[in-house]
């Protein structure tokens, strides 16, 4: 299926290549570079590029293109999903997935890629199995390794691949047994010029960090499972049980994983926690524009709206902006015309405001497009949909684990049109 993989950095250098079948010459990437040149933005490179003898399927993550070369029919999503899994694995191993990290750990990267695919077909993609095969590098281990000459490769052979729960490694031991669950909800919304909601929906995930000894069998139940409209599970979740009882029953993988992602049915009205008052105008004839933006909280159930960040792509004609924030700081990049305003926390008594003028290119006519405003924010200790975890039980092991559940609401793709 997947013939080869090339990693290409932002400046167009191929800094890593791996072949699973016979070697494909690097020159195949020329087609990719061509497409890259044609695309105006880095993310506009088409994910699938046909060439005379091969097909290139690429993903862009962390400003690195992962270009897979394939030769015959294969579901494109199969390759794309796999490439993303590779990136996730790198991130899991090295903390970040940057060119530098990959170059520093090139041997581990190579070993990982070798295990993840066999003859181009995925072999071991579960992080638990991979970590049994190849230990992630830590500072301590790197030091020990350089001194003693020992290795990153697991000494004993991994048994995870053979077990009935391939996602969990065997022989897990912890002195502190703990299981943390983060319920994170994101609001995707498009707010119209007049402030009315065009579309809004809530997407949520439950990320887990489970460090439990042995083979625990967990069940997680919700107070209001009906809220969940569409769900997708980690393979460990027993689907039948969910269908019948709306209870999540699973033997968790060891460590961090995404247990569940869900969508809250769009029939429910979505509470929008912030509002924006804006007045962005350009006058005909004058080379100045007015900018006035006020943020305010609404429907936050008494919780503070934090880490607010406003960004807006201003029209090309804008040369610079002279603005005055009532709190936080703003930056304007005259090259990309991107205005960002780091607001911080919204204080309901004193609403944050950004006001001032924009200078336009002299002589240029008034831009007829209006910038959209993207907003990011966080609200701690609240799931905006009202989803609540009822209880978490553990079976199969004797000890009492420490359990924790955290709720958070974030802005997803939250956009205000002006």
């Amino acid at each position: 299926m997947i013939h080869s993989l090339f990693l290409i950095n932002a400046s167009g250098d191929i800094f890593l290549e791996k072949h699973w079948k016979s070697v494909v010459s690097r020159s195949v990437c020329d087609y990719f570079f061509e497409a890259q040149e044609r695309a105006t933005e880095p993310e506009n490179v088409p994910p699938v590029i046909p060439t005379p003898h091969h097909y290139l399927i690429s993903v862009l993550r962390h400003r690195i293109y992962f270009v897979a070369v394939i030769q015959s029919e294969v579901p494109p999503l199969f390759v794309i999903e796999f490439l993303h899994r590779v990136v996730d694995t790198f991130q899991d191993y090295f903390g970040v997935c940057t060119e530098a990290a990959i170059k520093d750990n090139v041997v581990v990267v190579y070993e990982l890629l070798e295990e993840m695919l066999d003859n181009g077909f995925p072999l071991a993609t579960e992080s638990n199995i991979l970590k049994e095969l190849i230990k992630p590098p830590t500072i301590l281990r790197t030091m020990v390794n350089t001194i003693t000459g020992s290795t990153n490769v697991g000494e004993q052979l991994p048994t995870g691949q053979l077990s009935v729960v391939p996602w969990r490694r065997t022989g897990v031991k912890y002195t502190n047994n703990e299981a943390y669950f983060d319920v994170v909800e994101e609001i995707d919304a498009i707010i119209d010029k007049s402030g009315s909601t065009i579309t809004a929906e809530i997407q949520g995930v439950i990320d887990a960090c489970v460090k439990l000894t042995g083979m625990p069998d967990l069940t997680l139940s919700f107070m209001n499972p009906r809220l969940l409209d569409d769900v997708s599970f980690h393979p460990c979740v027993r689907f039948k049980r969910w269908e019948a009882e709306r209870i999540l029953s699973f033997i968790p993988p060891d460590g961090n994983f995404r247990l569940l992602s869900y969508h809250v049915s769009s029939q429910n009205l979505v509470a929008i926690p912030v509002y924006v008052k804006h007045n962005i105008t350009f006058r005909e004839g004058s080379s100045q524009g007015r900018f006035d933006l006020t943020l305010g909280p609404k429907q936050t159930m008494g919780k503070a709206v934090e880490s607010v960040l406003v960004s807006s792509q201003l029209p090309r004609g804008v040369l610079n902006a002279n603005l005055n924030p009532s709190q936080g700081a703003y930056t304007f990049d005259p090259v990309t015309k991107l205005l960002t305003w780091d607001v911080g926390k919204i204080n309901p008594q004193k609403l944050p405001n950004l006001k001032g003028t924009m200078n336009l290119q002299a002589g240029a006519s008034k831009p007829d497009e209006n910038p959209t405003i993207n907003i990011q924010f966080k609200i701690q200790q609240m799931a905006i949909s009202g989803l609540k975890v009822n209880r978490l039980d553990m079976y199969g092991e004797k000890y009492k684990p420490f359990k924790g559940i955290k709720y958070m609401t974030k802005a997803g793709k939250f956009q205000v049109r002006t």
Partner: protein, 1104 residues
């Protein structure tokens, strides 16, 4: 490394492409020499005897490979280390070897023996990795070795090794396609594998080597459907795609009736639907009506296998893997009845939250789907609204979907959305939006004028691209009704002064030329201007100027004759031959000369013919002839290796081809050699009952899923009934009272029946008898069928008819008839009081019967054991019990289970599980029973009889049988009360998967001798002080595993023997004790998994 890496960087920059090939370019002499030196020191490091140095060297070499630099000259030095002890060095050597073996074939051969040795290693993971590397070395000379290794690995005990073998198949195939036939044999063998680990990989191999051999799938179809949910996600994608193709060849189109209606068009759905008997109408629409009538006469019934596929793939829509979701979506799109396709919409919309690449692919597919089935995505319209932060690619695809979804009801909202898009900064996107508006306008008549007005307003937009695109779209719209819009044409004529975009200019010119009669004053003026600028125009504009000139010349030659001549002259000397040609052509056609023939008379008709309005179509129209989700669909071109999605067959091929598997699927352990016999039996099938033919598939499908335990028990009941009947007729010795109670005595009677059937069959035919024995092991359903066969030959035809009726009903009704429940109750051990008086009189007839069967078969012996056992074994208090259902989750009902260790009489291949129900709640629990179990493939369950009432605070117990197929996988069951359902699972300790056998010392030694090598596991241990005497050891071991002691000559050895319950593989355990509690534990077992787990368990038992 650091010193050289800087150097690498430099070199990387200088030549990034094809560097590997030119590493020895003589021009870069300096690089050459330093390379050479560096490699020298690497060689030295590799030759050293320190692992750390070797490792360092290998790491540097791998880093070189990763950068695409040539390291092939190190091959001899590296290959030497292939047998290195250090695992990481070894792995890196493998990496190197696989990369360069192709280039250095001779040297690579040196390493082969290492792998060959690895293939024989007792550790499955080492065997697997040896095969993996061996098959990855692309050296043609070793093809025979690879072939041999693959064949061997395909029948390896370990599923993991078999999986690796499946992976190796496409590798070998790509190396030497001539091996295809042999490889197909291996694929066929592996397809029959029952483990989820192998399924995905072997289907992958199938797809790469022999996708056309769809016949190989038949027998494995149901198994694949059932395993699907447990296969790893990548395998799921491959299997689903393959099954889609398979289903297209094997089942009927579920939408046949509808598609006929669609073809019939003119909205006469009601006609076909309602008037069933009106002959007159049917004659009118002969062909179609006939076909429809045909469909009507034979109402479409979905093949149960088709349904099975749809049912089993549906949960996978919840997968976290986008590729799996897409695969299921395309399966539903291509295979499901129209009414059911809707379920995929939600899942696909969910994927739109994922990475932009995923969105890209999903949107492409959604775009295709929306053309065929618009209604499906209409509720999710808003999910396709575009955000300014989306990449342009995504924006344009979303726009496509929105356009496809537009209809009379939602067009106003969509147009409002479009209006905001037009103001976007992304001009490509704006252009696409204008196109989209044009398409909405052509498709939906009501909004055409609104759209046109909006587009005309855009003509005054400041951005030229926007205007140009609008012009193009307006041109297309105007063609539909030009007479109304001459003012728009005039307006556009004015634009020629400003617009520079060639396409737009060309469009305007064409419009003016085409409708010059509507704008008689302006048109010549435009031509005048154009003639002036002719030489500077782009080619497409020039062509349109020529067109305009020609048309004006024909309609208004007075004013434009000279201008036309001028333009034609200019064109005559144009650089572009197209334009020169066109000029020549037009001149000949319109300017009358002597030579110009008959054609010029028709010039006007030629140029001013009424042109049909263009149809603005989605580029995704008709893309669905490619399998959705495929690369070919995405590219809208056939990719290499693409398998066409076949059309539905006219008539369904014989569904019974898939039936074979049902019989085979239950017993995992039957050898292939028995296949032939089974085929024979299949031929016989129609003999015993007609109704079987009809109900057969359903029944088999159910038993295959293992979920419909209801039908299982139904057939059980029928079985027991028929058995008792036959007993009556044959023996005639049983009392009336017994006849009345017959349902109560199932346990015994079943055994009677089994042995009896053997006997009778023996009388009939020796061959048949062999089969029955085979099947007894196999499955209940089979033995049932078979038995009824032999029986019907004995009993009267009336009997067999009624039986056939029962059979017919059984799978339909799905609820076990009441008598079953009663009779099964006897198996529960706590009801011993009821039980015992009933059994004692019955033991006698059995034993007499048995004595008959004993003659023919030793199997009978074990049978008699099992029959007698329940009365002799009582639940022992020392048994470890496990919790099945906690009091709290069970809402007061708590259930514990333990392994009673008595043979399970109704089926010797099952492990008896004792369940203890306690009702802790304050209200009584009713109708406690098992339902709808979803088991791992091959597992079977015999439910306990329904407990009709469990008063508050009371306890009850029951026995059920589970065939774990010799695996410790949990059996997942559903426990139902009258009000609630609980999901529970029973996981057996490995020690409970066996039953004791009695062996003499010699037998033991002989068997042990045959189970050496990989089948022998030895572990040293230090016995806990408490367990150092023989008695304690025996006690601990027999507690840990259900084994019996084997007499032994020596004092410091204890031996135990048993057989696994399902397959009857021998399990031999030896504990040899030495000084001071040092002991050695040896386990010999053909099943390595069982062996390893048993070692662990016994170790634990002896050391704790």
């Amino acid at each position: 490394m650091s010193a050289s890496s800087a150097f690498n960087e430099e070199k990387m920059g200088s030549s990034s492409v094809g560097e590997a090939e030119y590493a020895y370019d003589p021009v870069s002499g300096k690089i050459f020499s330093s390379d050479y030196n560096r490699h020298d020191d690497l060689k030295e490091m590799l030759d050293s005897n320190k692992d750390s140095l070797k490792l360092e060297a290998m790491k540097r070499i791998v880093a070189m490979i990763a950068r695409g630099k040539n390291a092939s000259d190190l091959f001899p030095a590296v290959v030497k280390n292939v047998a290195c002890k250090n695992i990481e060095v070894k792995k890196l050597v493998y990496v190197y070897l696989v990369r360069y073996a192709e280039e250095q074939q001779d040297l690579a051969l040196l390493s082969i023996s290492t792998f060959q040795r690895g293939l024989k290693d007792p550790n499955q993971l080492i065997r697997a990795s040896a095969l993996r590397v061996l098959s990855s070395i692309r050296v043609t000379i070793i093809v025979p070795i690879m072939m041999l290794a693959i064949k061997e690995a395909a029948s390896d005990m370990s599923p993991y090794v078999r999986k690796t073998a499946a992976h190796a198949i496409p590798k070998l195939y790509s190396l030497d396609p001539e091996q295809k036939d042999q490889l197909i044999e291996v694929i066929e063998k592996l397809l029959a594998d029952k483990t989820t680990l192998v399924a995905g990989s072997v289907v992958m191999a199938f797809e790469e080597v022999c996708p056309e051999r769809i016949d190989l799938i038949h027998k494995n179809y149901r198994k694949l459907c059932n395993l699907l949910i447990d296969v790893e996600e990548w395998g799921q994608v491959v299997i689903i795609n393959m099954l889609t193709r398979y289903a297209r060849t094997q089942f009927l189109n579920p939408n046949l009736n509808e598609s006929l209606l669609e073809d019939g068009g003119s909205g006469d759905k009601t006609f076909y639907g309602s008037d069933e008997d009106e002959d007159d109408d049917e004659k009118e629409n002969k062909e179609k009506a006939e076909a429809a009538a045909l469909a009507k006469r034979k109402p479409y019934v979905m093949d149960p296998d088709h349904r099975l596929l749809l049912r089993n793939t549906k949960p996978l829509l919840q997968s976290r893997n986008a590729a799996v979701v897409m695969a299921v979506a395309q399966l539903y799109f291509h295979l499901a009845p129209k009414a059911e396709v809707g379920v995929i919409a939600k899942a696909l919309v969910r994927l739109l939250r994922s990475h932009s690449e995923v969105q890209f692919v999903v949107l492409q597919n959604v775009a295709t789907m929306t053309i065929r089935r618009r209604g499906m995505f209409e509720p999710y319209l808003k999910s396709f609204y575009i955000r300014s932060t989306d990449p342009t690619l995504i924006k344009i695809l979303k726009l496509e979907v929105l356009t496809n979804l537009a209809n009379e009801t939602n067009i106003s909202t969509i147009l409002r959305e479009f209006q905001t898009y037009i103001k976007s900064m992304d001009k490509d996107f704006v252009a696409a939006t204008i196109q989209a508006i044009g398409r909405c306008a052509t498709n939906i008549g009501e909004v055409r004028d609104t759209c046109l007005n909006g587009l005309v307003q855009l003509l005054s937009n400041r951005d030229e691209l926007v205007v140009a695109e609008s012009v193009v779209v307006i041109k297309k719209l105007l063609q539909m009704q030009p007479e109304k819009h001459s003012d728009i044409i005039k307006h556009m004529a004015k634009l020629t002064d400003n617009i520079q975009v060639p396409m737009a200019r060309a469009s305007i010119l064409w419009l003016i030329g085409e409708y010059c009669e509507h704008v008689p004053k302006i048109a010549p003026d435009v031509l005048r201007k154009m003639a002036k600028s002719f030489t500077y125009e782009e080619d497409i504009v020039k062509l349109q100027i020529l067109n305009l000139a020609a048309k004006l010349y024909l309609t208004n030659s007075k004013q434009t004759k000279l201008l036309t001549q001028y333009v034609l002259n200019l064109a005559k000397y144009d650089q572009n031959y197209d334009i020169r040609d066109r000029a020549r052509f037009i001149r000949q056609l319109i300017v009358p000369t002597e030579k110009s023939g008959a054609l010029s008379k028709y010039a006007k008709k030629l140029f001013l013919a009424l042109k049909p309005a263009p149809v603005l179509e989605s580029p995704f129209k008709d893309r669905d002839h490619f399998q959705l989700g495929s690369l070919s669909h995405l590219l809208n071109a056939k990719a290499g290796g693409y398998q066409e999605l076949p059309d539905w067959p006219e008539a369904a091929p014989d569904p019974s081809v898939r039936n074979v598997e049902v019989k085979e699927s239950v017993p995992e352990w039957t050898k292939c050699s028995s296949r032939e016999k089974r085929k024979e039996k299949k031929v016989e099938k129609p003999f015993y009952s007609d109704s079987e033919g009809e109900s057969g598939p359903t029944e088999s499908a159910d038993s295959e899923t293992n979920s419909a335990s209801a039908s299982d028990s139904a057939s059980d009941s029928e079985q027991s009934r028929s058995s008792s009947e036959s007993e009556e007729s044959d023996e005639g010795s049983e009392s009336e009272e017994e006849k009345e109670n017959k349902n109560k005595k199932k346990v015994v009677k079943k055994a009677v029946k089994e042995s009896e059937s053997e006997q009778s069959s023996e009388e009939e035919n020796r061959k048949l008898e062999k089969k029955i024995k085979q099947q007894e092991k196999d499955s209940e359903t089979v033995s049932d069928d078979e038995e009824s066969d032999s029986e019907s030959s004995q009993s009267t035809s009336e009997d067999s008819e009624s039986e056939a009726e029962v059979k017919k009903k059984a799978p339909v009704s799905r609820t076990p008839p009441k008598p079953v429940k009663k009779e099964k109750k006897e198996m529960s051990l706590l009801d011993l009081d009821d039980f015992e008086p009933a059994t004692s009189p019955q033991v006698t007839p059995i034993s007499t019967l048995l004595s008959n069967s004993l003659v023919t078969d030793l199997e009978g012996l074990s049978l008699s054991d099992s029959v007698l056992a329940p009365s002799t074994i009582t639940p022992s208090g020392t048994l470890k019990s496990y919790e099945l259902l906690h009091r709290i989750t069970g809402e007061g009902l708590s259930v514990e289970y333990c392994f009673g260790r008595q043979p399970f009489s109704p089926d010797a291949n099952m492990v008896a599980v004792q369940l203890q129900f306690t009702n802790n709640s304050t209200s009584e629990t009713k109708n406690l029973h098992m339902k709808d179990v979803k088991l791992q493939s091959g597992m079977r369950v015999k439910e306990f009889p329904e407990i009709e009432l469990l008063p508050a605070g009371d306890t009850a117990s029951a026995v059920m049988g589970i065939d774990f197929c010799d695996s410790t996988q949990a059996a997942n069951l559903q426990l139902c009360t009258s009000t609630r359902k609980f999901f529970v699972s029973i996981q057996p300790p490995v020690g409970e998967l066996m039953r004791p056998v009695f062996l003499t010392e010699n037998e033991f030694k002989r068997e042990q001798g045959q189970l050496m090598g990989m089948n022998e596991l030895t572990e040293k241990l230090i016995l806990d002080a408490k367990y150092r005497n023989e008695h304690a050891i025996v006690q601990r071991v027999t507690t840990a595993a259900h084994l019996s002691r084997v007499p032994c000559g020596s004092d410091n050895e204890c031996r135990f023997a048993g057989r696994t319950v399902t397959s009857g593989s021998l399990v031999l355990v030896t504990v040899a004790t030495g000084e001071e509690g040092v002991a050695q534990l040896t386990v010999n077992c053909e099943k390595m998994v069982i062996g390893t787990m048993l070692v662990k368990d016994i170790l634990l038992a002896l050391t704790q």
